[in-house]
Symmetry: D2
């Protein structure tokens, strides 16, 4: 499509829905939010007021039936994503959907099939690809600045674990938290993974173990092109949100540091210190949330492919399932064991 | 005044006017721009369209006569500031004015007198006080984290000199560029300066010298409380915008680094390197421009004193005049030689 | 024993023998070198002259028969270590031996048995334990500064691979290069490893592969106490010698950077850069070579246990054998599969 | 002269004498200490024993009369330097003398005259020129890496002031402490200073003021070639020894950081911190003390000019006298006001 302004409907007025609404309303003149809906009508109304959205739809069905809506943002709970994608596609709407599409490959495949049939655009909310640090690392790989990649190391640690109630419905750490790192690994190396080995454990809170999950893990990735990667995950880091990557290539390495609220260093009689890094993902990745929406709106308005496709949404789920199986069986798992046609060499 | 939303008029639709308009329109729901004007009507109209401003006034007089306008942002050229402040004050409007108020103390004093008579609020656009780094340094001083300050060092270097045509009307480096650092010095130490010594020269471009100005200087400040400060200024830094401060106190020091577009470090066979710091003041100080407006809007809506007063706008001009005289006469100049009652001990 | 000065004999006048001789001669007044020997007599004579050693022995046997010799430094090729340790022990000499003791556990066990029988002291040359950075990390773990360790990450990359001729006799990367990291892992966590998984490959030079070795690997370590560790090895890093560790604990993390020849940072119109890190292990670890000898001399003179025991020399070989098997079989290997009684829980 | 080994006599067995003796004895095979003397015979004997020096001379006269002595190291108190230089020169000995030569220009000129007459070599102990950081900065200037220098900033702060008893005989802060920075300024820019302005005060300890000295100062230097420099001095820095420089040139800048005992960074729930920088000048400048002696020994053995000449020893004293006068008179002082022929343009 070619339009001046993309008219958007938002399904889900929780935290991430609100963030996206504000970005669109106050930061993206190329887009206009025409409708919003949420099972919690009050939440939808509040966002609508703040962001000047004229319509609060009664349901996602109503919102999708609205002819003014060119594209939808799916910001509702994970278990509704796949079905909403299909419905939106059938309604001819372009779709931006938060990750993950689903915890189940069949549901994902059905949704992707609907998108393919409808010929609409789909972008998955792997916002970190749009972060200045990780985008810079990707450029270093793509441009050959560090030569052919050999080793990748991703550190991804949360400040604190979510409540046990959330953990129980989260799909497990690999599908809830590591899924971002699985996407990051594929994005940075520009290649698929074919085998995964996990060494993990419950080190933060035994309750997490009792809920059937783990909270700390090292995940080893073997890429199709021979690159070896590690992901270092922990649900808790006392000093806050820790998000770094390092790639060793044949001509050098590139490594990123965390982002900080300021660049001030204090030296006292006891130590040289600085304030803790940005602690909350909303702060740390603020710019990337805006950038991913800008990218989506651009892709639709200019009729270009989106930068994070449905296939990009599916593969991290395959990786998460393989990781889980590796954790359970104590051996390396080939992605082909988990999903047919998982990796095309 | 106590209102839900502050209704604002903007005089001047140039670069800084546009930035402020976007901040208000897209980032500050507590404010509403009701009118804008510029001698270049096209520029005003363009900003109005982008930011959804309904009225483009024919003149600043018209804008000030508009009863809906609670407060004005003065973003027009420096030589209009003082008179506009007075007119706005007489019209009962609160005023946010870009720095400097004027190059001439009499004009400044007349404007401040008008503000005092009208009882309106006035905030001067020393945005750097609202920067996360410098605000952190100020907190370290105020809280006693580094003890009693002894030495202050400000590095403030521009990426490249402005055109000679601009330099000729700029009021000279001290009133155009150093004025920010004079304000920063007073802000960080929380005290006035009583004597200034300058060692300066023309090192960047002889044309600047022929225009009667200098382009490189060290300015030594003696504060009333005995603290000694230095400002290190250059109109050109090959590596970009360099904005740092360091304070030595009795219990330690605090020092800030520049801000960078990313935290990626590349190691190759030749060197360990990172990308250049943020180069453009609009990028480097983006957040501080938003924060100063938020602070102004808050101050007016809650009827609190503004954080950068008219007196704060006047003193850096006194310091600039003293610096210029020191440069010309090759000796330390007491501020009292330049302005009566310059410093109250 | 209690003596004023420890009288030392050195077997082996190659690179490391020379370094140790200079340390003893010029930096350790508590020690005196009374004899040196090498199959290359000229080499021994050269070191003797430079360091003021009066006796150049005809053979290690002669040196060990010298009654003046209290202790020997074994700096000869690896395949002579185990037998020389036994001979020295039987001659009643204390022993400092370069790593590894042998590539073969039976030989190691025989040597350790001889040491135990003779009641002499034995220290293995894992010098990195004495490096200021790694010693600081160990202190952070021991003191509880970062709480209970959860994840360990060791980066250990050489500037360039050794010649293929050396690789063929090196015992393989795990016993030649990673062995230092295996020791470091045990030293830093203060605990043994029970299982090892390796993902490795030939990425630097296919000749290394043809010689039956690998050049790049990620080694996952599971410690007895549940900690998970990774070692990131590469035989080649374009930017030089890369030696870092990071530990995540329940209360925080500690991470070390490389050491640099200077702390100068250059900012130009292209980048912000610094010189490459110390490139050569002799420079990077200079102080640690001196510190390990000082520690050995102290331990003997004060009759204290040495800080790197025979058991500390044996376990990294076990780990290397397990790593090799994991690489060959593509599965995690428990140390107990490789050596009886490998780990005492 | 051309010799295999330089035979050295040391006058003064205090702290710096001991350091130099150990460097020569244990680290410089090209030199041999043949004699040492000190008014405190016990001190001399102790160093002689530790360093294997066979002769403890009764007096500096005896030491200078010793025909075996090729060169002397003058490590006695400042007020003896000038006379000892003259005596040594008349005895035909090459001289390495600690800074400053004297507090008095006439005495300095007499000593330099004696050296010139005798044709012996003289090196002054400005060890910091041999520090890896400052040498790197000098290379950046010399090689044109940062273009033509414009601004120099030296930070030089001591961990704590010396005892008042020492301050009274020290010649004042400018001749005792800043003298190193005056030399550094000349060394880094490769040019002489022609005017000095000082803003200083007593901020650390009022006792220092009562002793007629100051403890904190900013010193502005105008170089003959137009470069402007600042020295930031304080007798006390809570966080330890602070020794940094920064130069802005037409093509970039170079800046050095302090040196640290390790490169470990600890992140906790409160802050990101590292240990304090090297605190004691003996540690911080350890390598430079060895390097300056190596340079002196080389210069004599190869009959090359020394790298820190008598003129280099004189000029910082002139600068110190000018600084003192500026502090007293509150105005910029041209070096020509203090010393005839101070600066040759």
């Amino acid at each position: 499509m070619r339009a001046e302004r993309l008219r958007i409907g938002i399904v889900g007025a929780g935290r991430i829905g609100r963030v996206h609404a504000e970005t669109l309303a106050f930061g993206l003149p190329e887009a206009e939010i025409v409708s919003i809906t949420d099972v919690d009508r009050g939440a939808a109304r509040k966002v609508a007021e703040r962001c000047g959205i004229h319509t609060v739809a009664n349901s996602s069905q109503d919102l999708l039936a609205d002819a003014r809506v060119d594209a939808v943002l799916i910001c509702s709970p994970t278990d509704t994503h796949a079905e909403l994608i299909s419905e939106a596609a059938r309604a001819g709407k372009h779709v931006f959907c938060e990750k993950p599409i689903a915890h189940d490959l069949e549901k994902i495949d059905a949704a992707l099939e609907a998108v393919a049939q409808a010929g609409v655009k789909l972008q998955i909310g792997f916002n970190r690809r749009f972060d200045a640090n990780f985008a810079r690392v990707r450029r270093a790989v793509e441009s050959g600045e560090i030569g052919a990649p050999r080793l990748l190391h991703i550190v991804s640690r949360d400040p604190a674990p979510p409540p046990i109630s959330y953990i129980k419905v989260s799909g497990g750490m690999f599908l809830d938290m590591t899924i971002h790192d699985f996407d990051m690994a594929r994005f940075l190396i520009g290649e698929d993974v074919e085998e995964i080995y996990v060494a993990g454990g419950v080190m933060v809170d035994p309750e997490i173990g009792r809920a059937g999950d783990l909270d700390t893990a090292v995940i080893v990735l073997r890429f199709v092109n021979g690159v070896i990667g590690t992901i270092d995950n922990c649900r808790q880091a006392a000093y806050g949100y820790d998000q770094r990557v390092e790639i060793l290539g044949s001509l050098g390495k590139i490594a990123t540091e965390n982002r900080y609220p300021n660049e001030a260093v204090v030296s006292t009689g006891r130590e040289v210190r600085r304030d803790l890094p940005l602690n909350f993902f909303m702060e740390r990745y603020r710019d990337s949330f805006a950038a991913e929406l800008r990218s989506f709106v651009d892709a639709v308005l200019r009729d270009q492919p989106t930068l994070v496709t449905g296939a990009d949404g599916r593969m991290p789920v395959v990786m998460g399932l393989a990781a889980r199986r590796s954790y359970e069986e104590g051996r390396a798992i080939r992605l082909a064991e988990v999903a047919k046609g998982a990796v095309r060499r």
